[in-house]
Amino acid sequence: MKENNSKKYREKTPKRRKISNIVYLSTVLIAFESIGLALLIFPRSTVSITEKRELKKFPEFTLDSYFSGEFTKGVSEWFSDTVPFRDELTNAATAIGELNGFRVGGIRLHGVESLPTESSDTSTSSSESTSSTESSSSSSSSTSSSSSSSSESTHESTSSSSEQKKDDPNIQDHLNITNNGIAVVGDRALMMYGGSYSVGERYAKVMNKYKQAMPNVNVYSMIIPTSCEFYSPSELNGYHASELDNINHVNSFLQGVIPVDAYSALAAHTSEDIYLRTDHHWAPLGAYYAAQQFAKTAGVPFKDISEYSQEVVHGFVGTMYGYSGDIVLKNNPEDFVYYVPTTVEYTTTYYEYELSGGSIVGARPEFDGKFFVRYSDGSGMAYCTFMGGDSQIVKVKTNAGTGRRLAILKDSYGNALPGYLFGSFDEIIVIDMRYFTHNVVDFLTENGTTDILFANNAFHAATASTVTYYETFLTQKDWGYWQTKKPEADAAQ
């Protein structure tokens, strides 16, 4: 009986196999065509919020672009880059990547390498230190590029970074500087510090030059430690250098420049939210403690945090998700908490540059605006709350009545500081180290500046380009922006 049944089934097998093939093929084809149609029907993405960049544009057809292969390559890249619902789908892809294994001790490293040992006891000559700086800088950039090319996600964030830099330099200032990858420890991302001592000496010396050029002005150096200094677990000790050592190293070369000990001020509050977990910046609360330390060092009054209103942007996921592609960061958003002064009057004037390819190509007419820009919940741009970005000079006039006028020369970390100093200085000029077209001595002298604060994070204090920028400010001639408009305004009056 059993044999009969078996025979019967065998006879039916070809038909069954055919039906199986039809079922299989139709299912796969339906799925394939559904995805294909979805890619064609739904509107294509134009911006990636996750990577904070504009996506590829459809390439322009020319015979040259066709025969060079750029056009066809551009079409493929455009199609792949501008997929509908791109961020949601790449988040899903990142989540799938998480299934490849598990995290040891809750740690995942992205492009991190062990660091070669370097002594802070440098007795090199100036020329030697310059060349070593260059090689250090280039080796760190090559390390960065190699680590980025090693992974699709990191590569993506790096390639996006270069584009993003053109549009939004505020959140890009870490990309071309020395870093040793990203460690995600629990739900906190740490950019690993790979700073070089040799740049530190040059950084100190350029600040000394400012003091020499403006002997009657108080010059302060605040090197702001980053989160890896305080939150990196011991097992990662071999993968980042000591920021404190480098800060002390820089301070040892200062002549007439007053160091501001932001390190100790922050170290005393590491149990509080002084750094953002998902962003490469510090949190506004950390800036508060550093500003307090600065006010103490400069001998100016300082308003207690109770004199500020607390504002919160919920659901903030910062730059480190885009840089690392680590889904843990995406899945653990944080509150971006900032503080708006309520007991001081101030007006903010913007002198904004026009950029192309990351370079200054023009300037907009000056305008008054808000110092604090409110971002909606879930926005990944919340750190731009302070002045909205970097590519500008900002003047804040206050009713502090202290007779002191401050200029802050800073990177994006420094953006969080001025808001706490409105009650301390009559005027605060905020100058970004990458965007300034005046001769700094002439400019600050004309403005009657009494105090200069260099406020840069430890990464930038160990980066050769930082020194170059500040040196250029001392020697460059005024580019002519805004001044050319002034006579017209005067004539009109």
């Binding site: 093939n21 299989y24 796969v28 025969f67 792949s80 880059d81 492009g111």
Partner: protein
Amino acid sequence: MVFSDLFFLYIFIPAVAICYALARCGDRARLKAAETGRAPRYANANLCPYTNAVLIVFSLIFYAWGEPIYIFLMLASVVMNYFVGLFIARGKQSSKPALVVGLVLNIAIIGVFKYADFLVDTLNLTGIGIPKPNIALPIGISFFTFQSISYLIDVYRREVKAQRNFFSLLLYISMFPQLIAGPIVRYSTISEEISNRTINFNDISEGSFRFLIGLGKKVILANQLAEISSKFLDGNLSSLTTGGAWLGIFAYTLQIYFDFSGYSDMAIGMGRCFGFHFDENFNHPYIARTITDFWRRWHISLGSFFRDYVYIPLGGNRRHQPLNILIVWFMTGLWHGASWNFVLWGLYFGAIIMLEKYTILKIKDKIPPIFLHLYSIFVIVFGWVIFYFVDFSRLGEFIPILFGGGKAGGWDAVVHGELMGNIWLLIGAVICCFPISKIIGYFYDKSASSDSAGGEVVLTGLKTICSLAILVVSTLLLIGSTTNPFLYLRF
């Protein structure tokens, strides 16, 4: 254009599929008209002119997408081989000179476009100072040139007839599934199918499944393994630990297999959907017990090419075998790239294969299989070290690290984190090196359910779920991935 590209998957493939289906209707109508006497019917006629035309047009678009200039080189190569083939077939007196001319021209093409810079660099080592021509490598030149050579030799040997229809030869050489990264399809394999082929549901079903398996190998395994390998192999070697070196090269060992065999699977699968049956190019090479066995399983179409067109004509086992082996493996290495490390890699395997003939092959039945596997894997992995580092100084730096001679020590948190962070991927990849489908088929056939409708449903269900998962996951992983070339595209 590469197979693992969203534009290829969701624009090119649907376009070619729709046009191919319409053309097939045209071919059928034409055949029916011939059968009913409404149209003339010729013996040996091309029964698929419309589908062939579609394949040729799309193959040219496919190639021109990546090589808008060098497509003319490829077309010129086809024209040349077409006429040379006809001359070879003409008669005894003209066949040998024609073959020689054909071989010289084909070798000249690959020599100029692939090896000119390498040759100049090598000569310049003697201090001559010849300016470097800087010729860009046309995609797939190694594959379509070797196919052309095999065609000419097979015609000369009277193993196949010369193709008198230029477009049929153009289709054979330019067919996009195998154009740019193989397998090196012999003309005899598909000569009949070029002019007369049938397609049924089974072909399309099996072909689609094979294509998706290949896609998964490339996108899910190879691309993700590439992240691990380049993390350790492309970085600063002075900070590389021994563990990192092994993890990196182990990941690369898996990556190159899934990358290349994935491409071959996709090519074979697509060919099947169009009614062509290409020969297998891989047969689970990492389960080999000897290196001789490995090379019978790895890139089979290249190995058989050198065997049939170089090794045997040189005398094979009969005359000066060691010299023949040396020549074949020198050429095998050089075929993979215009760099001395590839030559060294080829000679490394040639030497081991020669040694095996006098040692392991004679006693392999007495050695426990596990030791043979371990020996083979070690030799293969070490071979990939030579293959990976084009720069000899980095190769020289890397090898001591493998054996504990690095400055960074044996193990660190980076290696540990990377290993554990990808442990399932690595284990999954290792499992996929085994002939899983054959194992499943074996147990399925042995089980009682193989005769039941339920068994068929389960098998089809598994196949469908597996295919859908690969399709969805691969699509997700390809989003935003703009540089995703197959490793063998550079050869």
